[in-house]
Symmetry: C2
Subunit: 132 residues, 2 copies
């Protein structure tokens, strides 16, 4: 499997755009931002995203239909990841919780459910926006 060392041009461009942005971006926002680099069609973005997600460099936020660069790309195998998304400013906080992971894996084991992927997304208001 390819690693971060061997990203293609399109993958590099998409990851770059996500990395320099302080929050999630939709596929079409990415497309618009990358038009100046030659992107013409949604599929160019979606294909790059698919690989980047596979590599663990990008996460998809299901409740937002958007994408963020992974906050901890060095940790090759971080377990289950949770997100706290501020509905006011759009900031995303990425974290892991071993207890939550243990509980959910336990449920899956108890119910003979073969877990492929888990989504945990908390929506609300972040500290900064609460203060403002």
């Amino acid at each position: 499997m390819a690693t971060a060392q061997e990203l293609t041009r399109n993958q590099t461009l998409v990851l770059g755009a996500l990395s320099k942005t302080d929050g999630p971006l939709s596929a079409y926002t990415l497309l618009d931002q990358l038009r100046e680099h030659g992107f013409r069609a949604p599929l160019q973005v979606y294909r790059a995203l698919e690989k980047l997600i596979e590599f663990g460099l990008v996460h998809r936020l299901e409740s937002l239909n958007s994408f963020v660069a992974c906050a901890h790309p060095r940790d090759h195998v971080h377990g289950l990841i949770a997100f706290a998304i501020c509905d006011t400013c759009g900031q995303v906080d990425e974290f892991s919780d071993a207890v939550v992971e243990k509980q959910l894996r336990g449920w899956a084991k108890d119910h003979t459910f073969k877990l492929a992927k888990t989504t945990i997304e908390m929506r609300g208001t972040c500290q900064i926006c609460l203060a403002a």
Copy 2:
């Protein structure tokens, strides 16, 4: 706030369609099923869903862009709900886990994050499909 006793015609139709179906339905599938009852436009479905979700009678599955009838509509105030979704047969298992809820609420408290809504969705293969 309205309760299950006072659903409008459209809400009743949408909830009925979801209830008699053994799995999640998309808004447009609901629309198609309800055309014979006079539905003509997506908004009729989305507006009914919005209210039903507010009433706690329906849940939205973010990772599927679909909707399911609540498995425990009697429990007025069940806490945080998690879903196990079989990617093979589409079956959805709805459950609560007090420990998970405690952990996530704890994270929110520690980070002064005002929690509005939490999504937990596990994707994988259910027991029945594993056996098959």
